[in-house]
Amino acid sequence: MSLPCGTRNYTYADDMAIMRTRTHQVLFIVFLVLLFTAPYYLGNYWLGVVNLIGITLIAALGLNLLMGYCGQLSIGHAGFIAVGAYTTAVLTGRFELPFLVGLLGAGLMAGLVGLIFGLPSIRVKGFYLAITTIAAQIIIIWVINHWSLTGGFVGIKVPYASIGGLVFRSESSQFYLIMTIAALCTFCAKNLARTRVGRAFIAVRDNDLAAEVMGINLLYYKLLAFFIGCFLAGIAGALLAHWIGYMQTEQFSLTESILYVGMIIIGGLGTTLGPILGVVFIRLLQQVLATQIVPFLEETMTFLPSGFATGIGPMIFGLAIILFLIIEPRGMAHRWNLFKSAYHLWPFSY
């Protein structure tokens, strides 16, 4: 951690603090205030986009713990999100249990399924593990499609989220629900990474043999990473289910899983900031392309046959990913850190 000029850690508490300086604290509070007043200056559509970003962020945080910290490559994240979504759909929609039960049940169920499919991680590493997680996703989706409890191909309806008598009906009330949980998850993820567990994860990622020699129980920590990563995926799935209201398995495609991996790599693996930046970047780009740029091109360039811009969407999307990685292969969080240290030392950066 680079600190601004003249800042020294004199106590352990200073050393442990997430926010070290006054500026830091003020900026953070300003950010929180800006975020939580969003419903007052964002329209319903952009608020919906922010909600989607919040939900995606929770899942991406889980994947980041699993992949960025513990080094277990997973390309089946959408499958675990689906487990969460369908668990809450069945619990709240079919059995009419309260939302909180559904939410927790979704996390636990996804975590347990993650444990089962995480078992091969004990023997398998790297891309081989990625393939078993792809297999996990395909098996999960197949089971959901053929199981009578989940509604099968017809799909299943999910009621509004509600706590006590409070029903989260409007976009802005859902925003508060989703953002609170997202903020909570971010906070937990950030802190988890700094505990014994987080450091054990990092040791496993860097070299699992060395970690084992140092007395880290590989089975326990790898499975724990799978459990926590998939638990967060399940929470995200539950929120998604209540937000969209109707679940059908084609929502959880393999492409979506691959995109999640892309998000956290573009953001920066193994950092808390990374998933946030990556998720915001990818989701915003998708939205801006679909609802702004492509229609805008269609409207302004009427001399071209309509529909020409259809291909431009994926082209810009792909190009942006390529350019970002070429310019900053270590992720946006790395660039942010570089910027921060440059700012700390400015104007005497040498």
Binding site: Y128, L129, G311, M315
Partner: protein
Amino acid sequence: MAEFLQYVITGLAVGMVYSLIALGFVLVWKSSSVANLALGQIVLLSSWFTYGMLTQAGFPLWIALPLVILFALGLGWVIERFTLRPLIAQPILALITVTLGLGYFIEGIVHFVWPWSVAALPRIFPQSVVHIGPAVVSQEYLWVVGISLVVFIVLTLFFRYHRMGIAMRATADDQKAVQACGIPVTVVFSRSWMFACVVAAISGILISSIGGITYGLVETGLKAFSVVILGGLDSFGGAMLAGPIIGLAESVGGGYLTPVLWAGVKDIIPFIMIIIVMVIKPYGLFGEQRIERI
């Protein structure tokens, strides 16, 4: 018995299609340890290019095919030069993700150039069926089997005896040592991408001559390589054997399990097998097991 024979023959034929796609994947992995997530899109693009040459430009097959091969070589060169070269010596996950972006980009190009998005290649292979005992198989699949065997043999010989092939294997083993020996690593990467694109183009032509050109090709590519990991990521022989094994499991397993279980059970049999094999043999059936040191 007739039924069983039919399942076996179908399984083998379908499996070889998977193998062929997987060869293109293994080729890149073998030299640079990059998982090519854009493989499906490369298959799609080269199929459309073949369509453009054969149907739109109206070239006869003997002109069109060399043109497609040339195009694939060029495509491989461009991909390597402009997306992967700048990332040499960067974290490997960045390279894998860049192929993800590449996939979207290629998909966009396909939408842009061929906006009608579904087409059939003119029939390249004879349509009559071949009878093997009581079982029936379409000639197209037999051609696929033959061509994938040829590609496999050529690649194996190339990697065993040709200087460039040996250089590729060496690069995969240790990039720094290879560089120190004076082998241009960039050229090795570039060549392996060019060859991989050619293999992808060949498999594209074969698959789309069976099922037509649609965006489904992307997912077929994705499925094929995840299936063939069973053989081991860095083994041509593994890819060649794993394909038919999976094909057989799908066809025979599906054949006898579907009536007793749910419909569509054959679609997950390969994936259940993958998980089981991964637990027993973590590097695939034929993958190279690396001994790790701390």
